[in-house]
Subunit: 393 residues, 4 copies
């Protein structure tokens, strides 16, 4: 899948880093392979493919040594895409060998982690290349995509909860990240949750009502971000005489009022909710409804679409857009990071970030869970991030 996602991109496309948060496509390809080489092949006695790759393709694991600075990933022309393809084939071959023999529990766990890690990077690859293509005045498409004609926002309904002690977090034999654990009790107060995420049509009303010009709607840090970055609409939106258009992985197209609002920061999501007389849900409020909903993957990664779609039915919780919650990203009661270097995966980021839930239109199928905790800093906009309203019950 990773290689398939990179296939439409030229060597030049795969090299560019458009901002420090973005990684080049070829770096994603190499880093996900480095993960298997470092945490599985190395301990199994295989020497590294290249002596410098441990340095070049370590993302943030302090325990496995120094690394190339993240903001400089776009300065690396070598290794090129052919060498990285060879690296991947080499590691895939060794991993096949490993998998053909007996595997202990810990090794199986690391392999599973490596696969989920790579799925995360498949999503990041698409998020990142969208930004890379966008900063180019030519506004090239990643793939030619067909979009339906714009529609209207669906009606908005509310789901009610009486509150009380509920369970939150993952428990079970299947895969989950350490930050979803342990399953624990938490206390909810009565609340209502919207039955769909906020639409572009509603966001247009927010803009027209002066949403980006009224400080009383904004957190102080958010108001600073609005003014410092001159935010006037979601990331990738622009206006001309015909109204708003947006950049998508299929190139520029008109904003469709029926689609979920996307590429908004936490600050914008919070301000929108205040403007709407509502608030963002906590992650526990989101989860208690989502866990009672059938999990389906039909709104996740689909190479024919790569954009959030208008809701088909109310009360859906997965895919289209990640939904900002009001919950700061913090450890659950009793949280224990994984043992070893992979313990750096989640725990060390538990400050200055907000939790998002639900998955999006570029999340690989099979990578969605009602307990999944995604997280980004509150100013981030390049993820496929939207919001769902809540209010006190």
């Amino acid at each position: 899948m990773t290689e398939a996602l990179a296939a439409p991109l030229s060597a030049e496309d795969q090299t560019v880093q458009s901002m420090p948060d973005v990684s080049p496509t070829k770096w994603h390809r190499a880093h996900t392979t480095w993960f298997f080489e470092t945490f599985l092949l190395g301990p199994a006695g295989h020497p590294g493919f290249h002596p410098a790759y441990g340095y070049l393709f370590n993302s943030y694991y302090e325990a496995v040594g120094p690394r190339h600075p993240r903001p400089d990933r776009g300065l690396l022309s070598r290794p090129g895409i052919e060498e990285i393809a060879a690296y991947r084939r080499h590691v895939d071959g060794l991993m096949s060998g490993l998998l053909s023999g007996p595997i202990d529990q810990a090794t199986a766990g690391l392999i599973e982690l490596g696969l989920h890690h790579e799925q995360q990077h498949q999503e990041l690859l698409l998020m990142d290349i969208k930004h890379v293509l966008y900063v180019n005045p030519l506004l090239p498409a990643y793939l030619p995509l067909a979009f339906p004609n714009p529609g209207s926002p669906a009606a908005l309904g509310w789901l009610y909860h009486d509150g009380g002690v509920v369970e939150q977090g993952f428990e079970g034999a299947t895969f989950a990240f350490d930050n979803e654990r342990p399953r624990h009790e938490t206390l909810l107060h009565p609340f209502a949750l919207a039955d769909r995420s906020v639409s572009n049509g509603e966001w247009l009303e927010f803009i027209e009502d002066g949403g980006y010009e009224r400080p009383e709607l904004w957190l102080s840090d958010g108001w600073y971000a609005v003014n410092n970055n001159e935010w006037r609409a979601p990331q990738y939106w622009h206006s001309n005489e015909d109204g708003y258009w947006q950049f998508t992985l299929g190139g520029p197209r008109p904003v469709d009022p029926a689609e979920p609002a996307c590429h908004v920061s936490y600050y914008e999501a919070d301000a929108f909710a205040r403007w709407a007389g509502a608030r963002l849900p906590t992650e526990a409020e989101w989860e208690v409804f989502a866990i009672a909903t059938p999990l389906d993957d039909r709104r996740s990664l689909d190479l024919d679409r790569l954009s959030p779609r208008p809701p088909e039915a109310p009360g859906r919780f997965f895919g289209d857009v990640w939904e900002w919650t009001s919950s700061a990203y913090q450890p659950y009661p009793g949280f224990q990071p994984e043992a070893g270097a992979v313990g750096e995966y989640n725990g060390k980021f538990m400050v200055n970030q907000q939790v998002l839930r639900g998955g999006c239109c570029v999340t690989p199928p099979g990578h969605l869970r009602p307990t999944y905790r995604n997280f980004f800093p509150p100013a981030a906009r390049w993820a496929f991030s939207g919001l769902r309203l809540a209010r006190d019950g």
Copy 2:
């Protein structure tokens, strides 16, 4: 009290802004007076003392108009300390007049808010002037202070709680800030809380054990801060051949192992707790014990000391140092900001900050409450901030 705190300082001392977070002493004196003028005298029909003061001394209230940029407060030589003294006398006079007549409930509430606001700035004035004096190579004292000889850390005990649904937040007829409300139920898991805050002696052990050099102890953002700012000890600590000394409001003196560790960031507090095999408490965990403890003010602002003191007895919760909690600063369920411009007081800062509890050695007496929620960004160190350990029960 504000004027008494400023009295030992020269005109030059009162003018300097040593970093963007710090405000000059004379600005604190003017801003607290501006609060009464803006929110009480203006609505009562009194013209402003000076047409520019509304601009110069507004801190962050968007609803009352534009303001002088915060990082530029130290560029203002005028008004000087004499003009500011006259401004205060003028407003005090008008406020006396107002107070001598009948006062409605809302007005009384604003006056009370203005007094608590001024108490907060009394603490800030001392925090800030400590930094101003510290950046001066002459290391001048704010006041001559006598300190006892260094001692040893007290024994550390633990307070146990079985968890369950408890109440959190303020309820009652006396004063509290909006962010302490509403009183609401929350669910605790069994835990233990240290019966005193961490001491300098323990912090010295952390340093000697390589605490500032081991990335596995740190949050990712914290490790960046350690390296970017070259943190090797708490703010105001330095070492020489005789060991560590610290800058205090009484000038430089040796670090006393018996005193509470102070002037540490959230990142340092979190790393220390991890090193100690513990964690920081949530604010609910802290509050459930503190509220059951007699509130006394003997460890708060005392002009003969102005430094945290060694603990007299275990199980004390107020004064000496503010204690970082693991809780991100977020609204309580059902939170409503105050109506009007003073609604900007607390609510708009509810992101990117951590809650601290308990008050410190420069908090004015009468300004302590078990439900009081102080907050600072996780990298801040110039407040009198320490920590208390917790662990799962």
Copy 3:
């Protein structure tokens, strides 16, 4: 004189540093005294007045040890103005003693250098305090000053020179800085020089003709500065419905078309000259006329004016405004810096600066010379800098 210039300023005024290029008044007072203490009293065996003052008040002399960072001079509340007055009295006393005894040639030279150094700082003190007062929204005056009614620019005439080999630089027994030496031959090409500097009236025409909006008039670095700093008029100029006003040491007043244009950068001077179909003179072109002109001091520092005046007569070369030349600040052929630490006075700045000639309305009388080489970086505007046109003959 230094103390007289500081006298109208409060302790607060004397403490502020409004930008890194500016030094606080009290720093100027201390630094000029430090010069005598360091280069005369120290070698004569006198211990320093205070052990930290060598560090605090060294400006840039690498040879005499480390120094407090220039951009942080405004962070120092201590020593206060009273302590600095005492420092000056102390050093003055010791210098009086030194002067009452026999003095060798080298010592006499250093004393003379110290006096000229202090004269330079008298000018800097006024330049700097003008900026300090200007950044204050209250726009306070340094002194109450009376200004005549605005007039019209004088007629502009031209002085012609046939070119040929001429002499440039200082030679003689009286004082001059090392950078004015040695006197040497240089070759001039035929040229004409304006008989007065450019007036505000002419500058207004430049503005109205789109001077700040036409890239073809500007050096590339200048055009960047215009856009990056949003320059639309000289420093201290602002427009309102009545036209342009300017901030002066007497407070705000209307721009007088008859006065010399002032507070322009080299970039602006160069662009104006190009707009006018002329060019800036070289320093040799300026000097060959100035040296043939009687030197008078009537347009230099005058506490009743402190602003450039309309020209009284054509062909004057001294006072009112420093005049930018097209000459980069470089050593004369055969240049030798002074021996010892004072050799750092001029030579080490001979790159990235342009030469200005003539003196200005805040230059102390007695500090003007036809060979005097002042220098500033091309973007500097806070000096009293104007220009005089030249053209090929």
Copy 4:
């Protein structure tokens, strides 16, 4: 030639911009073609190849419209190297057509300018790709190059000149840039000029004598650059237990004491000269000897070498390294920029730069002239820049 220089580079190599001063290889290829399209084909009535290329590939010509920001050239993955090759073929075809018809004088002049412009970019392409490859921890070679064994510096001799009025600048019917004109008289003082440039062996002595640690050797801005950038040797030099090695277009190799010192800033060149008891020559001093020397191209661009070579014979002036002069880059007396947009080529950069003379090992043959004025800011090091000593005669 441009295409031949790009041929060894992958698509990835041609995309990276390693610092704001550097342009990607594919940008150089497109920009040089844009020059012909804009200044020749457009006026001849040919529509542009692509509507966005005028914006993307304009370097700094204000007169022909807005342009993509220089520091963002490395953010452009599209157009890719194949599209740029097609663009070049398209423009080459149209230029062939143009050249097959009658051409007026002005057109011929622009074509000649376009060719010299492209030669400059051939040199820049190699300078820039050297930096791109260097920032990569893999330190890849541009081409495999064979180097001789290290030797020893040649003896240094001096060439003497009695001074007097001499001619400087270009005059003649062949090509020269506008900044080399007009030929004019200038006055020289007696001086001596070294008969070769400074060698690596001499630079090693400078390092060993503490050259980078002694402030008295440096201009003030240079000393700041040394400390701020931690310069301890020329750009591309590093030391290990075997001594110094340097990065070359052939990859890493030991520093050869016999070769000319290269990749030093003006600040370093000036400090070295002071250390050596000498000074840098003015450009007139350099030119008066160079113009009397046979011009040969044997030390310019040679794909088998791409590094400066040890001198073959004394008194040579062309190739190997550009030589910093003490002359600020300023207009000659009577300078007139070219008419039209190409007048922006040279004149608008005449501030904040120093002149270099002579050409280097990556300057295309045919692009050397004794009157040629190259220029760079004094902190630049990525050009092939060295120095030749001078002293007063």
